[in-house]
Each structure stands twice: as structure tokens, then as C-alpha cells.
Amino acid sequence: MPDSAEAADIPQAVLAAPAALTARGLAKQFRGFRAVDGVDLSVAEGSVHALVGPNGAGKTTLFNLLSGFIAPSAGQILLGDRDITGLAPEQIARLGVARSFQITNLFPMLTAREHVELALAGRAGQGFMFWRSDRLLIEHADRAEELLASVGLEHAATVPADTLPYGQKRALELALALALDPKVLLLDEPTAGMGAEDVDRTVELIGRVRAGRTVVLVEHNMNVVASLADRVTVLQLGQVLIEGEYAEVRDDPQVVAAYLGEPDAAH
């Protein structure tokens, strides 16, 4: 087991929890370039696990691997005990792994509410109902309203997504992932480009929705990491540099070196 060597450092509560998501020797090569290079990662059930590292460290590529958007060159991914290596993104999503995207990835013509309805309809198994009216989706109105309100989008529900300002698009990105009510939530820089107020609300929201879930969080804002993460894994050049609790990781000389010249490290 890759993480047995570190077992001594893991707090008892987290150690007791089984792994919700495990990567073993996960690797991805792009034309010879190793974007992810033999990553072992074990995300404890119910934890918030932050992935940090300088730009280009391979965090997003790792998310793409975990969510099935790209196939690994080597290695294995487990969801609980189940091997999900090589499954399609929609299969992984339906097994309860939802992701948000670093680069906002929405449906430009759909309104914020239609976005959420779309996610809720899929979960309810209504997607193939070509013989029903789409008024059927009104049954999700309350839940949609609630989700939009939780990310501060209650006033923006009926405008097309591409007319939303950047911060609200980020919020919708988050609402869309939450609408799937996932067991495992992969969030790729959910607060990137947000104002301080929105960052606070997002931190508060993640703190709330983490109950009963496992969260993997890519984040450059160290305040966000400090206030949310139970564990932190630092990636560099596609490899795990160190893993531990926030305080130990922050003070590690290797991490300080890796972040040198990295403006975000100042946060």
C-alpha cells in the first residue's frame, strides 16, 4: 500500500475512515511529457483533501484522470473498492463522482436554472423521456431554487449563462456539481477569480456541503486550503512532493522551495 509508510502521520479519525478515492501509480504522458507521473493518492471518506502545487504541476490533469476525461497511461483508480480505471466520464459521474472545471465550462444558451434542472433531470432518470413535456422539470424547481440560492445566484436564475459575470459563472459551476448530489466532489479551483466576499461564501458553502461527502479540492488560495482541508497533497512536476496536514505541509522546506517565485504562495 502506497500510503502505509505515512500512516504514522495521519490523524486517527481520518485513518479510521476507508478511502473513498484511491489512485495507484497513476500516470499520464502527453507526447513523452509526463504531466502526471506515478501519483499515489488516498482520499479518506468524509475528508476534504486539498491538492496544491505550482502552475503546471498536473493537478487538472489528475482531475481529468480521476473523472475519466482522459485515460491514464499507467496506474489504477479506485472508487471505494471498485476499479473505475478506464470508465467513461458519464459512467464515473453516475457512480457519484462530480467535478467542476477550472476553466468555466457551461452551456452558454441555457439559463442558470436550466443548468441545474439539467443536472437534476439526469439524476432523476428523466433524460431519455422524449415523449414527455419539459414542463416535467418544474418538479425540480424548489431544489433548483435552493441550489442557486446556496451559491448566491437566486437573482440570476433566468438569464443565459454566457451573459453572467465571471464570478457568477464560477458559482454556477459549483451549483452544477452540487446538483448531482455526489459522494465524491472534485473541485478544480472553485474560488479562482472570485472577489473576497464570494470566496468567503464559497468556503462557507463547501464547509456546509462536505457533510456526508468526500471533497478533493484544487486550490491556490492558501487561506481556503487552511480553513477547509483535512489533508493536503503537494504536487510538483506530476509527482507527489509531500502529503500531510496543512500546518506541516506549509512549513516544509521542499514546499517553500517549490512555491518560490509562485505569486499565489503569498496568499
Binding site: P89, R99, G122, W131, R132
Partner: protein, 336 residues
């Protein structure tokens, strides 16, 4: 711009989703349009040569079936002649061989088109953009080749002459009467397309058109959805093709020829992708124009319709209906 992006641009933002309807998207205008459309459909054989009126109806349904893919899913099928033509031959053969009433013969044609669309769709939906169009065209050409070779069944270049049209001993050989016998089936087909577009499934299609990878992240198996709408589309094209052949009492190689596929795409783009009404209007204009030109003794009909097509697309990239609606919406927004 990719095909999907063009379709998105043409179809506009107000596609009548539940949310927009709740926000008050003028249902009165929709009912008015429907009333005008139905009246026009019922009046057509009185004001024009009835076989032409029925051709318009058939091509309207064919174009709508193509628009389900092109406008609502972002898939350009250049092979719908395969489904239209297969249904045309099947319907004619069934009524020749069994003497079944024409609705049953048409239904048989529709089923044949649907069955054929499963393997073609299965292979085609793995491609996108122009590659999807090429796969559909290639299969349609194979069907054309088969129809051309298999003379004992299709009659080759001579085509296949069907039996006299009748239903429950009612003589329908007069095209005027056949129009009213066939129209309900066309309307049912159009209704089905409308239902698909305004269904939860239709919502997913538009989402897939606009951002397939995001749709997958939400758990939607994109290929299955594309195959689903492909089969629905082919069935409707089959319904149209079967009725067309019965109405002409004849199925010919023209029905499986690539120009028929091209004509359907042209009608959709001319009328406006992703609008349904646009396909209906486009069918009226194109069929009427072709008839007018051939009546006037024109030889090169394709050049004229082609040029008009290019001109309209250059001037109005949303097509006729799309542009009209867009302009109306802009005026309305300015008034508010």
C-alpha cells in the same frame, strides 16, 4: 465556426424552455402561429396543384427530421435520402405485395427506415462535425448503389410503380383527396418532432450540442442520446418518404440519391436551423420554386435554387425564420 456553433447561433436563445415559458414567452403568438399554419395546410390543395401541396408537406417533415439532428443536436446528416428512400421503396413494395391499406404500408416503410438507422447511427455518432456528415453520406451512397443494383426488387432506373391508392374501398387516386388522407400522418410526424424538442430529452440534446463534454460530466451518455435522436429522426424521414412514394404511386432512384439529402439540408438552413417552423416554411419555398421553374421550362433548376440558397445564407445566417424571429425579439426588447 463548427456545425454545432452555427446551429446554436441560428436557433437563438429563446427555445421555449420551461424556465423561459414561466418568465412569460408569449404563448398567444405560438397559438396564433399554429392556427395560421394549420389553416394554410388545409387550404393548400385549393390554391395549388394538390400533388405539389403534398410534396411540400412531405419535404417539410423530412426537413424537420433533419433539423432534429442539425439544429437541436448539432449533427449534420447528409444521408437522410437513405431513410426517405428506403421507406419509399418499402412502402411501395408492401402495398404492391400485400395490398395493405396505405397507412400500414407507410408504417412498414417507417419501421424499415428506423431499423436501417440503428447500425448507420451507431457508427456515425462516434464522429462529429464534417466527419459525421461524411459517414452518413457514405452509407446513403451505399443504399443508392444497392437500390441501383437490385433491379429485381427496386426496378433499377425504371423505378417501382405502386398500386392504385385506396383506403377501405375509398378511391384516393385523386391527389386532392389523397392530400387530406395523408396530411394527418404528416401532422402527427411534425407533432412528434415538436414533442421531442420540447421534452426533457430535447433539453439534453441542446446541452449536448452546446457542450458535449460538460453533458458527460453531468452523467449523460452522449453517444446514446445521439443515437436515440438519430433513430427518431430517421423514422420521421421514413414516414415522410413512405407517404411521398404512396402519393406519387411510384418509388424511384431519385429518392435514395444524394441530392434528396442535400435538398433537405438546404431547406433546413434556408428556413433556419433549430426552429422547426423554419423547415416548414423552407419546404414550401423550395418545393414551390422548383415546381415553378420546371413549369417555366427551366433546365438547370439546381443552379437557381442553389444560388438563392447561397444568397439567403450569406445575407441571413440564421435563415429566414431564425432571422425574422431574432428581429422581432430585438424590436420587442427595445420597446421594453
Amino acid at each position: 465556426m463548427s456545425i454545432a456553433e452555427m446551429a446554436r447561433a441560428a436557433s437563438g436563445t429563446t427555445r421555449g424552455g420551461a424556465a423561459e415559458r414561466a418568465a412569460g414567452a408569449r404563448p398567444a403568438i405560438r397559438w396564433l402561429l399554429l392556427a395560421v399554419g394549420l389553416t394554410a395546410a388545409l387550404a393548400m390543395p385549393w390554391v395549388m396543384y394538390p400533388p405539389i401541396a403534398f410534396d411540400i408537406a412531405c419535404f417539410a417533415l423530412l426537413a424537420v427530421s433533419v433539423d432534429l439532428l442539425l439544429g437541436y443536436t448539432g449533427l449534420l446528416s447528409f444521408g437522410h435520402a437513405a431513410f426517405w428512400g428506403t421507406a419509399a421503396y418499402t412502402a411501395t413494395l408492401v402495398s404492391l405485395q400485400t395490398g395493405a391499406p396505405f397507412p400500414l404500408a407507410v408504417l412498414a416503410g417507417m419501421v424499415a427506415a428506423a431499423v436501417l438507422s440503428v447500425p448507420i447511427g451507431y457508427l456515425a455518432v462516434k464522429r462529429t462535425g464534417i466527419y459525421f456528415a461524411m459517414v452518413t453520406l457514405a452509407f446513403a451512397q451505399m443504399i443508392f448503389f444497392l437500390a441501383n443494383q437490385w433491379r429485381s426488387v427496386t426496378g433499377g432506373e425504371n423505378g417501382l410503380v405502386g398500386p392504385a391508392r385506396e383506403l377501405f374501398n375509398m378511391d384516393l387516386s385523386d391527389p386532392f383527396f389523397f392530400y387530406y388522407a395523408g396530411l394527418p400522418f404528416i401532422l402527427l410526424g411534425l407533432l412528434a418532432a415538436w414533442r421531442v424538442v420540447r421534452s426533457p430529452f430535447g433539453r439534453v440534446l441542446v446541452a449536448i450540442r452546446d457542450n458535449p463534454s460538460r453533458a458527460r460530466a453531468l452523467g449523460y451518455p452522449v453517444h446514446q442520446y445521439k443515437l436515440g435522436v438519430f433513430v427518431i429522426s430517421a423514422s420521421l424521414a421514413g414516414l415522410a418518404g413512405g407517404l411521398f412514394a404512396i402519393s406519387h404511386g411510384f418509388a424511384s432512384l431519385q429518392e435514395v440519391y444524394w441530392t434528396t439529402s442535400g435538398k433537405a439540408v438546404m431547406i433546413v438552413v434556408l428556413g433556419g436551423m433549430g426552429t422547426l417552423w423554419g423547415s416548414v416554411i423552407g419546404a414550401y419555398l423550395v418545393v414551390q420554386l422548383e415546381y415553378f421553374l420546371s413549369d417555366a421550362g427551366f433546365e438547370e433548376i439546381g443552379i437557381v435554387t442553389g444560388s438563392i440558397f447561397v444568397l439567403v445564407v450569406l445575407l441571413f445566417r440564421r435563415g429566414i425564420w431564425g432571422t425574422a424571429r431574432h428581429t422581432l425579439e430585438k424590436l420587442q426588447r427595445r420597446r421594453e
